[in-house]
Symmetry: C2
Subunit: 537 residues, 2 copies
């Protein structure tokens, strides 16, 4: 299925774009699985039928007519431009959107849009700082960037749809999506066609089927997870402060168990320790000394992706901070008021606790499993989507997959997804060029010209994706961070307060916008001056 | 029932207080309705029995023993000191806590506490700025102040309990409370005795029994109301942006109905208009011009507490801002996708809308109605608690009631509650003095001394509460505010941009702490620089 029209703007002034979009009738029908072919004339008719919206447009009828006429005459078919649909708004999708030349694409659905972004969240979340939100070091909104902030000032408008992708049909080349939020319009699900699909839906939290995890543990993946954890943690503290609570019950309520010794679990434990030392000791002096943090990891050590020195350094720092690390320990069950652990001795014991935070890895989303099941030949890896060297999904040449939904040799990190996204933005530049040449070729009448075009097409070569590791960073609490950095081919390791300053500056510079940078820096100053807030919202 | 013990501190150093509180065993038993009499010896025994908490205290045994001994010898009974229980953490309670001399009181429950504060929220919420939170002008946490920030550094520790008061027994003089939050300890409800009770539980939103209000409307009273409204509003915008939505449905989704023409409704409409003009027009150009705000008020005009000029000025400003005001209009029903209005012509019509915000007044909470029912002679006003001139609840001399739970000649405003709270802090100073003298009198052996004490007691006179109106302020959007200020006995009215600056500085100075002042001011700068966030959390 091909994208429909090629549109050139005479002007990109806001009023023009604005009134223009008004003139668009709903080109997408609910549950329509293919783009409807419509003539230029029907577009004009649709535009003239539009009833004036309640605060009526301030422009005169003549001006409106002339503008419409002007636009219609400029609408020309350009079947070489394709429809690009991007599923997701995380690291991969955002990085791609940042680099994408939107003028290379147009959608089959909306006349004046280029790419389509579909995500249940209308924002990008800077996930590495989520543990800071969970203890109130950062405001939630400081690490959000609305996707429209990125797409709004692109050369051609990007259609952002807040909806959850429900099904991908790699044969018909369509995506079915649905608005599952609390408030829904008359139309809340639809099917859109794509020429190229970027599949960047991420993953969901892996619970390994352990009973009670989904019911009783807090995750640390989405913004609402961090907010829930903050609320619960302070709820534990307040419940422990309830008059008449026994010492034993206080100790239970104030025992926090973090499962997962990866960067998220480590950073969360470190942040919790900071919250305890820097704030709770002042405001809950009678309880603070009872708060305990235990980190549980199934492997023989925490932070498997870091070097041995840094692992030892982290373990030492945690010991000084009274954070207990239990390695080679499995979680067997999570109850409402306890967690059942199986230690290296093979003995199961029930540990009372107030809260369990689950930061123990990823697994594929349902939609990913469904999509893979439709391509049984190429897709057999249970961990996620198998790719070729150019990040194409094996078995579906027009689907590119990036980030945590894929199974590659790289770790499921923001860094990998981000590099994949920016690689794809370069790929799509070349693909657009190639598609244009191929369209020209199909219309070429003279064989000489065709020969020339063929040569040009052959020249376009996509380089395979190559991941360049920039290093690993983690905050471990007490104003200390650790860093594993490859410099001139050698591994350079560093830990301590200076590394913490480096961690902060690295994170600041990785934040996509100056706005977010200043918000995060402002929050750091706020916490330095005023401490963290202990209100339980 | 009298409070139990009189405690003097030799030192108020944190470590002392801290380890001290550790030493306290749970003096309050669940569902115990009276204070248990315990000897000094039993306190010492309890202290020595305390098992060392998991991260053990760093002090040596000898030091611990000496400290305990020192403290025990200082614990002396002072039956003249009474137990003060404060229900609530809003304007009234916070203002009282700010002025209260905690050394005048001790509780029957916890040896080293003075007053007891019970509230389902562990923070004070600066309600007048709630509409600003609802559109993202302010961060939620900028207008919160944890109650412990206020009580923590008082001369004697104040026991803050995060729980909901369920029942007040004015005969037994007890309050039953319960922790209804998600996480509860073994003990989650208890009954505490009081000598004096300050009843400042506020009110809940009045729905006048209109069908659908509770199910479909957003309130604007608590923090979660503002957050819910923000989420819903952006949900409406995103649902309207869903591809294929008809123009009619877009108009419905983007029609916001605010019910109630008081300051809350007016400020919310103004803030919504700012959000629309300053942010949504940039990020949703294709939808922004369809967003409509309608303000519904049953009375003949909005802002009944303001002067006529300012009402006219507000109506004019709203007209310029395209905010429709429907006066003399009643809401008959709220549906999921519409609101049924009855206009001055008596005709009912169904108006489609995306969201209804309900800011239409207060009504008594269940606990207040229950308490009033127990005192049928003095309490007959359905609006709330009837008071005498000293803010005592009629029919219960030991209960003082302040704020929105009362029915007085004053408007239910923050200003009134705040002045009542600070009046009570002076009352409790005098009451403590009187109680001390009366206790001395009961022990006086020489009649001459008794006569002298009697005279001193007679001299203590409580002045009746007098409300001094400092003026009314409201923000009406477009960087304009209105102010009605009584200056030298004359009413001075002002509206416009200069008044907006005054509004800001007045609100800043009313915020209880420098911390909150700097956070709110910081948010204003943030919005000026970066605009409001359109992420739907």
């Amino acid at each position: 299925m091909q994208a429909a029209r090629h549109v050139r703007f005479m002007s990109t002034s806001r009023s023009l774009v604005c009134s223009h979009v008004h003139a668009q009738k709903h080109f997408l029908r609910a549950s329509t699985s293919r783009a409807q072919s419509r003539s230029v004339a029907s577009t004009a008719a649709a535009a003239s039928q539009t009833p004036p919206p309640p605060p009526p447009p301030s422009q005169g009828r003549w001006r409106y007519f002339l503008q419409t006429l002007g636009r219609v005459t400029l609408v020309t078919f350009d079947p070489s431009k394709k429809t690009l649909v991007i599923l997701g708004s995380g690291w991969g999708a955002t990085s791609l959107l940042k680099g994408l030349d939107t003028s290379d694409y147009n959608t089959a659905c909306h006349t004046f849009n280029s790419a389509i972004v579909v995500s249940p969240k209308n924002f990008f979340l800077f996930t590495p700082l989520l543990p800071s939100v969970a203890v109130g070091t950062l405001n939630a909104r400081s690490i959000l960037q609305p996707t429209r902030y990125l797409t709004r000032h692109k050369e051609r408008q990007v259609l952002v749809i807040e909806a959850e992708a429900k099904e991908v049909d790699p044969v018909k080349k369509t995506v079915t999506l649905s608005d599952d939020s609390e408030i829904q319009g008359q139309i809340s699900s639809t099917t859109i066609p794509y020429d190229y699909l970027v599949y960047a839906v991420g993953a969901e939290t892996q619970t390994f089927g352990i009973p009670g995890v989904r019911e009783h543990a807090c995750f640390m993946k989405e913004l609402h997870d961090a907010e829930k954890m903050q609320r619960r943690f302070l709820d534990c503290v307040e419940s422990a402060a309830f008059p008449g609570q026994s010492d034993e019950e206080k100790d239970r309520l104030l025992h926090m168990v973090v499962v997962g010794g990866g960067p998220t679990g480590i950073e969360l434990s470190g942040e919790l320790r900071d919250f305890l030392e820097e704030d709770l000791k002042s405001w809950y002096p009678e309880l603070a000394s009872r708060i305990r943090i235990t980190l549980v990891e199934a492997l023989p050590n925490v932070l498997p992706s870091f070097s041995k020195e840094l692992i030892a350094y982290t373990e030492r720092t945690f010991k000084e901070s009274d954070i207990e690390i239990l390695t080679k320990t499995m979680v067997r069950k999570v109850n409402e008021k306890s967690v059942v652990l199986k230690g290296p001795d093979g003995v199961e014991r029930e540990v009372p606790c107030g809260m369990v935070v689950w930061a123990a890895g990823n697994t594929s989303r349902q939609i990913t499993r469904d999509l893979m099941a439709k391509l049984p030949e190429g897709q057999t890896n249970k961990r996620g989507i198998t790719l070729d060297d150019h990040l194409r999904m094996k078995g579906a040449r027009d689907i590119f997959a990036i980030g945590d939904c894929t199974a590659s040799s790289y770790a499921p990190t923001a860094q990998v997804a981000s590099q994949q996204g920016s690689y794809l933005s370069r790929v799509f530049k070349l693909l657009a060029k190639k598609d244009k040449l191929e369209a020209d070729l199909s219309h070429a009448e003279i064989s000489e010209e065709a020969e020339k075009l063929k040569k040009q097409i052959d020249k376009i070569k996509l380089k395979p994706f190559h991941y360049s590791h920039q290093g690993s960073l983690a905050y471990i609490g007490s104003d200390k961070a650790i860093a594993d950095l490859p410099i001139f081919g050698r591994e350079w390791t560093s830990g301590g307060v200076a590394t913490f300053m480096f961690w902060r500056s690295a994170y600041l510079s990785t934040l996509f916008s100056l706005r977010n940078r200043s918000l995060v820096a402002g929050d750091w100053v706020r916490v330095k001056l005023w401490g963290r807030d202990v209100s339980r919202e």
